[in-house]
């Protein structure tokens, strides 16, 4: 349980950091175009940090499909 909570916290921190917003502004419904600064460039930065932090590697199709906090978290749960 701790591992999953840690994953959630880390992911929220990454999103907040890449979008230059406070972590408290990243809730479970955070997504591209709705969370401040989470645009196509912000998305690249998020995916780059997620790759580094969680040791995963995304292809173009996956990067284009994981467009929300929930999508990314679901992917990480299945692939890490």
């Amino acid at each position: 349980m701790k591992g999953k909570d840690e994953m959630k916290e880390k992911l929220k921190f990454i999103i907040a950091n890449c979008c230059s917003i406070d972590t408290s502004a990243v809730d479970d419904n955070a997504k591209v175009n709705e969370t401040p600064n989470w645009d196509s460039f912000g998305h690249l930065q998020i995916m780059s940090c997620v790759e580094q932090e969680f040791g995963v590697s995304f292809d173009t199709r996956t990067i284009s499909a994981l467009l929300s906090y929930k999508d990314i978290l679901g992917y990480l749960k299945e692939n890490t």
Binding site: K31, N33, L67
Partner: protein, 373 residues
């Protein structure tokens, strides 16, 4: 360290790199032949293609294009296009970011460059359906948002598909197989009763190998309609779009008269099910009342191809097509709401019509807008 990105027009020698870039994303562009068919061998002319290139390594990292097509806009033929294939080599860009290389956002620039080239070619309107990631850059580059919501209507034709649908519902996961084995025959029984008592019509489907002057009469009738915006459905365009064997083409007949056409796409979907999707249909103005009879016949065709499901994506009821969604519900199709961004870029020639063009009710939408690219 900083890397510059150069935006420029496509050149013939870029072809292998372009195909390499697109094939990582699109299932229908796996070979140069696929790409040439879609982007160059179009009866309306070759696509307007722009590329983003990372200057130091001369590496192709981005692509955007406008595929040319004629459209009828309130009774007049207009030279238009479909924005397509905004693709970036995202793993490569992520690699640069990881190495601390500064890169500039270039998506909006790439789209702007393409739209300027499209305008220079005389295109008057371009519509596209960007994903959420690409939506902002399209709007920033001058597109207007038209609509997002549409409905997916599905008729399960086999219990294994129904079981798959029920498995996705958490509270039914354990009993999905059992429930679907009961529900699927029930749906088929109810459907058969409905068709037996209410669905008997004189409608029949005449399979055709390609579109020709016989189907052009439907396109001409639509093109004359002064209240509608629609893709020009001339035989040349439809044969280009639906040339592959997986597209089953029919002329719809009623009482010995041709009243419309329908195109059924039969394919294996990403979940491994054989899907039949009604991707395009058109009736003469007096033929819309035969939609129900047509769906009954289309269902028979889908079964003939051993399909697991029949799908119809439906945008909205226009005055002329009022009630089609109701017909699908009546025939036990289940409805699910979905979202697809639709955006429109207008040249100055159509600026006066902007308000009417941005009213979704004036558009005749089927999957012809999205299918095959």
């Amino acid at each position: 360290m900083e890397r510059n990105i150069n935006i420029r027009n496509y050149r013939e020698e870029d072809t292998p790199a372009v195909v390499g870039l697109l094939s990582g994303f699109y299932d229908n562009v796996k070979t140069e032949e696929d790409w040439r068919r879609l982007y160059l061998d179009n009866p309306a002319g070759s696509a307007v293609i722009s590329l983003a290139e990372e200057t130091s390594g001369k590496k192709l990292i981005g692509h955007y294009s406008v595929i040319k097509m004629e459209m009828s806009v309130f009774g007049e033929k207009r030279f238009c296009g479909k924005g397509e294939g905004e693709i970036f080599d995202l793993p490569f860009l992520i690699g640069l970011l990881k190495r601390g290389v500064k890169i500039e956002p270039s998506s909006e620039k790439l789209i702007r460059h393409t739209m300027n080239a499209a305008l220079a070619c005389g295109l008057e309107m371009v519509c596209t359906n960007p994903n959420d990631l690409a939506l902002k850059s399209h709007i920033a580059a001058g597109y207007d948002s038209l609509r997002q919501e549409f409905s997916i209507f599905v008729l399960p034709l086999k219990s294994r598909y129904l079981s798959h649908v029920l498995t996705k519902k958490k509270n039914l996961a354990g009993t999905a197989c059992f429930i679907s084995s009961l529900v699927a025959p029930l749906i088929h029984f109810l459907y058969s009763v409905k068709v037996l008592f209410f669905g008997r019509t004189g409608v029949c489907l005449d399979p055709i190998g390609s579109f020709d002057s016989r189907t052009d009469i439907f396109a001409e009738a639509l093109g004359k309609d002064k209240h509608v915006i629609a893709i020009d459905r001339s035989a040349g365009h439809l044969n280009w779009r639906f040339g592959k064997e997986e597209y089953k083409k029919y002329v719809i007949r009623d009482g010995g008269k041709d009243i419309g056409y329908a195109v059924l796409h039969v394919f294996i979907n990403p979940n491994g099910f054989k899907e039949a999707c009604l991707v395009d249909y058109l009736f003469l103005p007096e033929g819309w009342g035969k939609f129900k009879g047509t769906i009954v016949k289309i269902t028979e065709e889908a079964k003939k191809y051993d399909s697991d499901l029949l799908r119809v994506n439906y945008m909205h009821d226009r005055k002329e097509t009022f009630g089609l969604a109701g017909v699908l519900k009546e025939l036990f199709f289940t409805k699910r709401s979905d979202k697809r961004n639709i955006t429109v870029f207008l040249s100055s020639q159509l600026e006066d019509e902007k308000e009417k063009i941005l009213d979704i009710k004036n558009w005749f939408f089927t999957d012809l807008y999205f299918e095959g690219y």
